[in-house]
Amino acid sequence: MIRGRYRSGPSRRGKALLCFTAMIGLFAVCGPSAADPADATKIVVKEFMFAPTPLTIKAGSTVTWTNMDDEPHTAVSDSGLFKSGGMDTNESFSFKFDKPGTYHYTCSIHPRMVGTIIVQ
């Protein structure tokens, strides 16, 4: 009997709850890339560009640049606050931003490449 089978399975309310729980789970899996500061402070250096720029972070966060080009790049603060060495392909550089402010930086090998970090 069809109705009987429905009764023997989870109630409609129970199914809805299950579905909601599954959605929560989905958020739990996908969420960190958007919410976890550790992942939100990565800058990719690719095709002679810094991305994302500008990047907004919270004070105390550490930003990591990774070069994906065959050509080396650097990240040098205009104010002299930080200076990476030459980053070869797949090499990275990290810097911790303690104080709020707007920080401009440049690739000293290709000064046309510029980026900005906003620390809140």
Partner: protein, 312 residues
């Protein structure tokens, strides 16, 4: 200008169109007469007419580079050195216009110096490229090559009556902009040139182009105009650089601008692709896109003043 040098120039232009192992230049009465080095090597009579080569320009050796565009930059530099050592007349000087290394690492500089030590010509003058100054303290280049300039990066010297000026345009970069010489260096050039006879042949060399070739890729020097205004009174000015890994040339009055090939890897023509990175070409084409520049004095420089008159 003699018919001989006109012929040489015609040959040179032909050879440049086809490409080759390198380019030979002659300072002939204040005008550069370029010849293809591969052709010159096989034509001893032709090179004899050019006299003793004054110097060979080597550029962008990028020791430490190991990507697909050339996995063996040590090998191509060795080939380059063999070509120079095989020249009928050895040049008096070697000039390296920067990017000796790829990543400013001590080991890269050490390897480069070891390879250079095979050159039969032992007097070498250098300027740094931006790849030579990426170490955080900018000391690796200057520890080895800083003596000539008292660690400033710019200096001058004379050889065979030619006045050489070495300039640095890779340190005071402007974000979003071109290479920079800076006011201190420009003031030093003015003092260096003051009282110098306009008939003195001048050779100026730096790493980045001292003329704007392609601004979106930073192929130029923002304050180079202030340098050119000081050089314009001279009868023979040769402006050399590397950086763009290909030959581009222009003549403006008595000034000849020339960019050298690299010995490591080619780069794309201005504006082709996302940026000035290594250009991968079929391996049988690579050697034809690498090379050097050689500059000769046709007559004793004391006679160059006479040639200047012809150019005016």
């Amino acid at each position: 200008m003699s018919d001989d040098s006109l012929l040489s120039r015609r040959n040179a232009l032909k050879c440049m169109a086809y490409g080759g192992a390198g380019t030979l230049f002659a300072l002939s009465g204040g005008v550069l007469a370029p010849l293809d080095l591969a052709m010159a090597a096989g034509d001893k009579q032709g090179t004899a007419k050019l006299g003793k080569p004054l110097f060979v320009q080597i550029s962008d050796t990028h020791i430490g580079f190991n990507k697909d565009a050339n996995p063996d930059v040590n090998g191509t530099l060795t080939q380059t050195i063999d070509i120079v050592n095989g020249m009928t007349e050895q040049p008096a000087l070697i000039i390296h216009t920067g990017d000796i290394t790829h990543l400013s690492k001590a080991a890269e500089f050490d390897t480069a110096q070891q390879l250079f030590s095979r050159l039969r010509t032992t007097e070498m003058h250098t300027v740094p490229g931006e790849h030579d100054t990426t170490d955080p303290t900018v000391t690796e280049y200057f520890n080895r090559f800083g003596k000539a300039s008292d660690n400033k990066g710019y200096y001058s010297f004379d050889h065979s009556g030619v006045h050489f000026i070495a300039l640095i345009n890779v340190l005071q970069f402007k974000p979003g902009g071109l290479g920079t010489l800076g006011p201190d260096q420009l003031a030093w050039v003015a003092a260096d040139l003051k009282g110098r006879s306009s008939s003195t042949p001048i050779v100026v060399f730096a790493h980045m182009p001292l003329w704007t070739i392609y601004e979106p890729w930073g192929w130029g020097t923002g304050d180079a105009d202030q340098l050119m205004s000081q050089l314009r009174r001279f009868g023979s000015v040769t402006v050399l650089n590397g950086h763009i890994h290909q030959i581009v040339q222009k003549v403006e009055g008595n000034m000849t601008f020339h960019t050298a090939r690299s010995t490591s890897y080619p780069q794309p023509v201005a504006g082709v692709g996302s940026g000035p990175g290594p250009l991968k070409v079929p391996s049988d084409q690579l050697a034809s896109m690498l090379g050097i520049t050689s500059i000769s004095v046709v007559k004793h420089p004391s006679s160059l003043a006479l040639k200047d008159t012809a150019l005016a």
